[in-house]
């Protein structure tokens, strides 16, 4: 009863990579002297500046940033998943009306200006932590971010508000 596997073919990761790469060419250069990047680096964080799409402080005061990434984390993962999973580009479009090329800007807007409705610190093994943060910005949906110990945004996706 509905337990069969379905694998959706034809999922492209090229579009996401190209979008992200185009963004990173301009944004990465402009961030080279960003004060937040310098603050992160002073703390020992390994940020790939040339691939960074945005960096900001979230509502908890933590510096978080989004990189172009790859299939496992960052913008490419958010948009297109891991190559087998579908990713969240379509979810952003359906929930927020945001096209894939505008997803980084939208995430930054919500992380910076949205209302923080949940902030969980989650043990990810080996004494390490991750941060699940849920934001309300407008409309009928929340934005959830999965953030690594150092502030790297691994993933982000919309979730429908509870009825």
């Amino acid at each position: 009863m509905g337990s069969g596997s379905k694998f959706h073919g034809g999922l492209s990761t090229r579009g996401g990579s190209q979008d992200a790469a185009a963004d990173s060419k301009t944004v990465g250069r402009s961030l080279a002297n960003n004060a937040l990047i310098k603050e992160l680096q002073a703390k020992g964080a390994r940020i790939n500046v040339k691939d960074t799409l945005f960096i900001t402080k979230d509502k908890t005061g933590m510096i978080v940033w989004l990189e172009k990434g790859n299939a496992k984390g960052g913008l490419q993962h958010i948009l297109d998943g891991n190559g087998k999973t579908p990713g969240h580009a379509a979810d952003f479009k359906k929930a927020f009306g945001v096209s894939r090329q505008n997803v980084p800007t939208y995430i930054k807007q919500v992380v910076k200006n949205g209302k923080l409705v949940s902030n969980k610190t989650i043990s990810v093994g080996g004494g390490r932590l991750g941060y699940e943060r849920v934001y309300y910005y407008n409309g009928r949906y929340h934005l959830v971010t999965g953030v690594g110990t150092n502030g790297f945004i691994v993933s982000a996706y919309p979730v429908k508000l509870k009825k």
């Binding site: 087998k84 390490r128 150092n150």
Partner: protein
Amino acid sequence: MYTIKIMNEFLHGAIWVYEDGIPSSWDKIDADPTLSDLNRQTMELYASYFEFDTNGESYTYNESLERQTKGEMLSLIRKIKERLHELNNGDFEVEDYETERLMNL
């Protein structure tokens, strides 16, 4: 009509409830203690593959560890699908994006 997608995600777990094509919540799935426990286990295992500020990178994904533990993950996903099958009275369908990927690692 709900769709339950099986796909691992950092800090989320393998179980995703989709309603009208958007991630959602549904007490039938979210409040089931067996599914909650299995989902937590997949979340913790999957999250253990991520390392931050190592090897000169903002993050790295430990593919070797994932291969070593894929049997454990496959077992958890099999149990999730079995429990979903028990709960399903025709009001949702299941899409598994992980089993084949993991078996091919």
